[in-house]
């Protein structure tokens, strides 16, 4: 253990340089709620640890000039919850981030870590997908942006190239009449990994859906953006047929596994059930917004 180098740079450039210099032997540390557990289990044995919690850009929440939000990748769930306006604009994203672990974990865990840990069941990811979040990444070759759903590549793997660090999430401005929600199914009431997670973001005009996005978690090797489910909702007034079609689209998108938490049949069915319930909450919020 003692032969690990621990770095806590104050700027992003330093972090990128140190990360790239270590050429694969380094690990980024945000809240550490995945990394420390994996190190303890011996699954991960980094030679260098780059602690990003001292970098201002990665630990702040900003409102963008267009009216959206930029969230530093290492911001903790607890900090996000304290923001005076974020939870009003994106209640679904906030509830997803705040479902991660216990109070103790929420004080530390970050959405960046949740995304880069690349668990198929990461709770914040389907909500971010539904929100249409775009991530900014920086590496030895500069900065780039990509949609959040493009980051996970499979269980434990991302599409970040060697040396790249996830810097922030940008959420778009919210038109009037918008609402989002996230629901997950777990056997225990708290502190558990999603068996299925579903995020829905809707914009309504006069009761009619004008925009929709649906994200699903824990039903495939990566969290999914479910285009057909959104299409089934757009143009509808969330009538039974539209909800049934969207639920069916969610079930059809599932490529789950059988494991101790749930069977393939169960996950496939529950994806549809959660779509209906999540959409109802998002619509209710949109109606109020």
């Amino acid at each position: 253990m003692t032969d690990i180098r621990y770095l806590a740079p104050g700027t992003l450039d330093e972090a990128v340089n140190a990360f790239a210099a270590a050429a694969g032997a380094a690990r980024i540390l945000a809240g550490g709620t995945d990394l420390l557990v994996q190190m303890r289990a011996g699954v991960v044995r980094p030679g260098v640890i780059v602690d990003i919690k001292k970098i201002a850009e990665m630990t702040t929440i900003e409102e963008t000039p267009e009216g959206g939000f930029r969230i530093g990748a290492a911001v903790s769930g607890a900090r996000l919850a304290e923001h005076p306006r974020f939870g009003k604009a994106w209640p679904g994203v906030l509830e997803a981030v705040n479902l991660i672990g216990s109070k103790q974990v929420q004080g530390r865990a970050s959405p960046g870590g949740n995304l880069c840990n690349a668990s198929p069941a990461g709770d914040s990811v389907p909500a971010m997908i539904a929100a249409g979040a775009v991530v900014t990444v920086q590496g030895p070759h500069g900065r780039r942006q990509m949609p959040v759903e493009a980051v996970p590549a499979g269980p434990g793997r991302t599409n970040l190239t060697p040396g790249e660090i996830l810097v922030s999430f940008t959420l778009p401005p919210r038109p009037a009449g918008s609402g989002d929600a996230y629901l997950r199914m777990i056997p225990r009431t708290e502190m558990d990994i999603a068996v299925v997670g579903c995020g829905v973001s809707l914009t309504l005009e006069g009761g009619k859906v004008t925009a929709a996005r649906v994200g699903l978690g824990a039903v495939a090797p990566t969290p999914l953006l479910v285009g057909p489910a959104a299409e089934a909702l757009i143009g509808s007034r969330l009538e039974e047929e539209a909800l049934a079609a969207a639920a069916a689209a969610c079930s059809a998108a599932c490529r789950p596994i059988d494991d101790k938490r749930g069977t393939i049949a169960y996950r496939t069915k529950v994806a549809g059930v959660l779509l209906r319930r999540t959409a109802a909450i998002a619509a209710e919020r949109a109606g109020r917004a």
Partner: protein, 900 residues
């Protein structure tokens, strides 16, 4: 590389530590700063035992790299009493009995202190949200919620501690006699202390369920890791390389001699300095494996033997036969049949096994968490080949046991290492190793049938149980013996044929777990009663009342129950609640039907009985009280694993003697200093050791009265170390002694299970109200009502604590807990109930006094759990019509059952 210096502000003091930045804060607090009040239950963020506050916010110290804590204010349990609210919270915990074993207590206190800092009078939901990350396996959380909500009252002093006068302790809600250390974080658990210079021991365990292995050359490994002092294998065991519960079955090797029989079986141990052991990778060890096809419960009968001594893989068969059950079933007006399957259940005590051993001349001392110090003593003597007098066992504070710490774990290997190396050796099992290696609840496959007449009176009952006992015998014979006696439940059944077999497989040894197989049987038995009640057109509670055992009845083993049969009283107490809860559920269902809701409400009931103490076997206890120049000393060898025997026995002894509880000094557990009280199992300590304590108190009282030449009604008092009898001083130059011994009268069972298996039984009935989500298959518990006949509640707070904790484990058994070797060896994947999973619980204490028990008391530890799962499953069926035959009732299984 030299480590950077970091400055930590701990409990207001600046501390400088040299450590790599990624070192866990928990390690720094415990190992560098000696603040062992912060506990380690999992080292993975799952249990919250390590909860501290950083800048006021709760955090798991095991998940915080120390570099991220540097410069911030860290608060631990050791500093809690310094703040008025912290002190109030600790006193509220004591008052409400919110700490049982105490291993989760520091974490609970720290999490709660954050909440109370912002909100002095939180509601229940706020408490649940704040404490959701701290697991407690003992209390069922209810008393913790009460204590946190009530803490503000203790700010200005609060209620005075209960301090009963001489002769008035029994029945009082006395705070735990060992409670201060638990709320202060100063109790010494197995991992909290060790002699200076102790080496560490790391066991090497099998990754295969069944395999042969051969060791290669250890020399290169020893050369590569200079801190590795010794490798211990089967060849190093000085005495018998085997341990086990029964004197004639020492079948589990300390170090497997060439074949491993379960994933987690121990093949050797590495001893050395801690860093060296941690640096050794499993892949480096010179072990050549030849995996073999494991024997499973599917193919064990008639398959390859797991152990040569049992060619048919049947360890033990237990039977109870009375009357002709088959004939009775054929003649029954109504009949029902069920087959159920349950899985392995992990004890999940929050304290993993830990302790140390040291050689003192020609004796060996072992300090470890245990439920059975005298059995540990025999095992250690056996593996070392030493006389028992050469062994001293000092139980550590025990952070939960529930049956899992009745078997030895690390004790034999620590003793061997310390004996051979002549140096103290310590070990702490990581959570994963604890779960892989320790015993489990027996998985059961049960087929049961029952019948009743037109009026609903039970006629016959047939039960066939296959209990998977895993790779080694452990408590398998006890389970196979106890199950058939209890299988028909606390009912009058004229004809019974019950058989239970303990069957070997290449899975973890199944041992003792709260209820010894009876909870599994109760699930089948109570499901049958629901069906028969429906068939006979009777209310489910009334069906049970019609058939309930009453004083004077004769059981299926031929035992006449003369006294203390409180089941009817339990059912009578439940009846009004049963009706009210059922009406509420019906109304909720009507509302859901009208609104297209997808929640169905239901109410269920389960009853149970439980024999206190060993089955048809002697299980004595001896207690000793002395009064002399050193004061009044209670030598109590019963291990308190959180259930409260230290306190309850003190109350009993005090009243029997006639002095107040606070006059006593306690000497606990240590086998050199106390008598054998038997093990803390089978719900026996209050009944058996309690009676012994009463006898000891009475014996000392007689000795005092004799010396003072006073009559039986004389009043005793101790003032400034002087004994007063009716106000007159009596000299205490020589020590007076009272010794009490009790062995409950039983008669061994014959081949048909006829005899007197237990001297007395606990009885209970529980109700569960819940709703089921028809689309997700999830269960939401609303309320549990538990009526328990405990004979006499020596300390109602402790009794309620046992009931709450047992119910929480029953909830886990019913709804979520299933141990899968290799897949759920952590508290992330193995789910136990959190604070949000345990609903409101109402306890109704019924006291049908047992003349043999101390002041009428029986036991409660295991009875608390048995009825819960049956009541929950009964409620699920009431809500949905679905009978779950595969337990736990996971959501996907509920949906599957709904479709059937």
């Amino acid at each position: 590389m030299t480590s950077p210096a970091l400055l930590l502000l701990v409990n207001g003091e600046t501390r400088r530590v040299l450590a790599p930045g990624q070192t866990r804060l928990s390690t720094i607090l415990r190992d560098e700063l000696g603040l062992t009040g912060t506990k380690i239950g999992c080292d993975a963020g799952d249990c919250g035992a390590c909860t501290v506050r950083i800048d006021g916010a709760q955090a798991c110290a095991c998940l915080v790299p120390v570099a991220q804590a540097a410069g911030h204010a860290v608060a631990t349990v050791e500093g809690l009493a310094a703040s008025p609210m912290g002190d109030a919270l600790q006193r509220a915990f004591l008052h409400h009995g919110a700490a049982q074993c105490g291993i989760c207590t520091p974490g609970m206190l720290m999490a709660a202190s954050e909440l109370l800092a912002g909100e002095a009078r939180p509601d229940e939901a706020a408490v649940a949200a704040a404490l959701g990350g701290v697991l407690c396996r003992c209390t069922g959380y209810r008393k913790i919620v009460e204590a946190v909500r009530d803490a503000h009252r203790f700010l200005a002093g609060g209620p005075a501690p209960v301090a009963p006068a001489a002769g008035c302790a029994v029945g009082e809600r006395l705070a735990r006699a060992d409670g201060l250390a638990k709320v202060g974080g100063t109790d010494r658990f197995g991992a909290d202390a060790a002699p200076d210079g102790a080496l560490w021991l790391r066991a090497v365990r099998s990754p295969h369920p069944r395999a042969r292995f051969a060791f290669g050359d250890w020399a290169p490994l020893l050369a590569r890791h200079p801190g590795l002092v010794r490798v211990l294998t089967a060849a190093d065991v000085p005495g018998r390389n085997g341990f086990g519960i029964y004197p004639d079955i020492k079948d589990q090797p300390v170090f497997a001699p060439g074949e491993v029989r379960y994933r987690g079986d121990c093949l050797c141990a590495l001893v050395g300095d801690r860093a060296a052991l941690e640096a050794i990778r499993t892949e480096e060890l010179p072990i050549a494996w030849t995996p073999l096809a494991p024997v499973t419960l599917d193919d064990a009968l008639g398959g390859e033997p797991v152990q040569a001594r049992w060619p048919d893989n049947v360890l033990t068969t237990g039977r109870v036969v009375s009357g002709d059950a088959e004939a009775a079933l054929r003649a029954s007006r109504h009949s029902a049949a069920i087959e159920i399957e349950t899985g392995f259940v992990e004890h999940a005590y929050i304290e993993p096994e830990a302790g140390w051993a040291q050689r003192v001349g020609d004796r060996i001392e072992v300090f470890a968490c245990t439920q059975a110090p005298y059995m540990d003593l025999e095992e250690v003597a056996g593996v070392l080949g030493l006389p028992q007098a050469a062994v001293r066992i000092i139980p550590s504070a025990c952070g939960g046991g529930f049956g899992g710490k009745l078997d030895v774990s690390i004790q034999p290997m620590l003793a061997i290492a310390a004996w051979l190396l002549r140096r103290p050796v310590r070990a702490v099992l990581p959570r994963g190793e604890s779960m892989a290696s320790s015993t489990k609840r027996h998985p059961a496959r049960i087929a049961a049938r029952a019948g009743c007449d037109a009026a609903g009176r039970l006629t016959g009952f047939a039960f066939e149980g296959r209990y998977e006992t895993g790779a080694y015998a452990s408590w398998g014979p006890t389970v196979a013996g106890r199950v058939p006696v209890h299988a028909m439940g606390p009912y009058r059944v004229p004809a019974v044929a019950a058989r239970a077999r303990a069957i070997f497989t290449n899975n973890p040894p199944a041992g003792a777990f709260r209820g010894f197989g009876v909870p599994q049987a109760a699930i089948a038995q109570e499901a049958l009663w629901d069906r028969l009640a429906d068939a006979a057109g009777l209310d489910r509670l009334e069906f049970r009342a019609l058939n309930a055992l009453r004083a004077g009845d004769v059981t299926a083993t031929g035992q006449r129950l003369a006294h203390s049969v409180g089941l009817m009283a339990c059912l009578d107490a439940l009846r009004p609640r049963w009706r009210a809860l059922r009406a509420t559920a019906a109304a909720a269902n009507a509302l859901a039907d009208a609104g297209g809701g997808r929640q169905r409400h239901g109410v269920g009931i389960g009853c149970m009985w439980y024999g206190i103490g060993n089955t048809g076997m002697s299980n004595p206890s001896t207690m000793r009280i002395t009064l002399g120049p050193e004061g009044l000393v209670f030598h109590n060898g019963a291990v308190d694993i959180g259930q409260g025997s230290t306190t309850a026995l003190l109350q009993i002894a005090a009243d029997a003697l006639g002095l107040p509880t606070d006059a006593f000094r306690l000497v606990l557990g240590d086998t050199d200093l106390t008598e054998d009280a038997g093990k803390t199992s089978a719900s026996r300590q209050t009944f058996v050791s309690g009676r012994a304590a009463a006898e000891a108190g009475r014996a000392l009282r007689e000795a005092i009265l004799l010396r003072a030449n006073a009559g039986p009604e004389a009043r005793l008092a101790l003032r400034d170390g002087a004994l007063l009898v009716d106000g007159r001083p009596v000299g205490l130059e020589s020590t007076l002694e009272g010794i009490g011994r009790f062995d409950p009268p039983t008669r061994p069972l014959d081949a048909d299970g006829q005899g007197i298996p237990y001297a007395t039984y606990g009885f209970a009935a529980q109700l569960a109200a819940l709703s089921v989500d028809l689309d997700l298959g999830t269960v939401h518990l609303q309320r549990i009502v538990a009526a328990h006949d405990v004979g006499r509640a020596i300390n109602p707070t402790l009794v309620e604590g046992q009931i709450h904790g047992g119910i929480a484990q029953g909830i886990g058994l019913a709804l979520m807990e299933e141990y899968l070797p290799g897949h759920t060896e952590n508290l992330h994947d193995y789910l136990i109930p959190t604070i949000g999973d345990v609903p409101e619980i109402e306890c109704l204490l019924i006291e049908a006094p047992e003349p043999l028990g101390p002041y009428g008391a029986k036991g409660i530890g295991e009875p608390a759990l048995v009825a819960t799962a049956p009541a929950i499953l009964s409620a699920i069926r009431d809500a949905t019509g679905a009978t779950l035959t595969r337990i736990p009732a996971l959501p996907h299984r509920i949906l599957e059952a709904l479709r059937r």
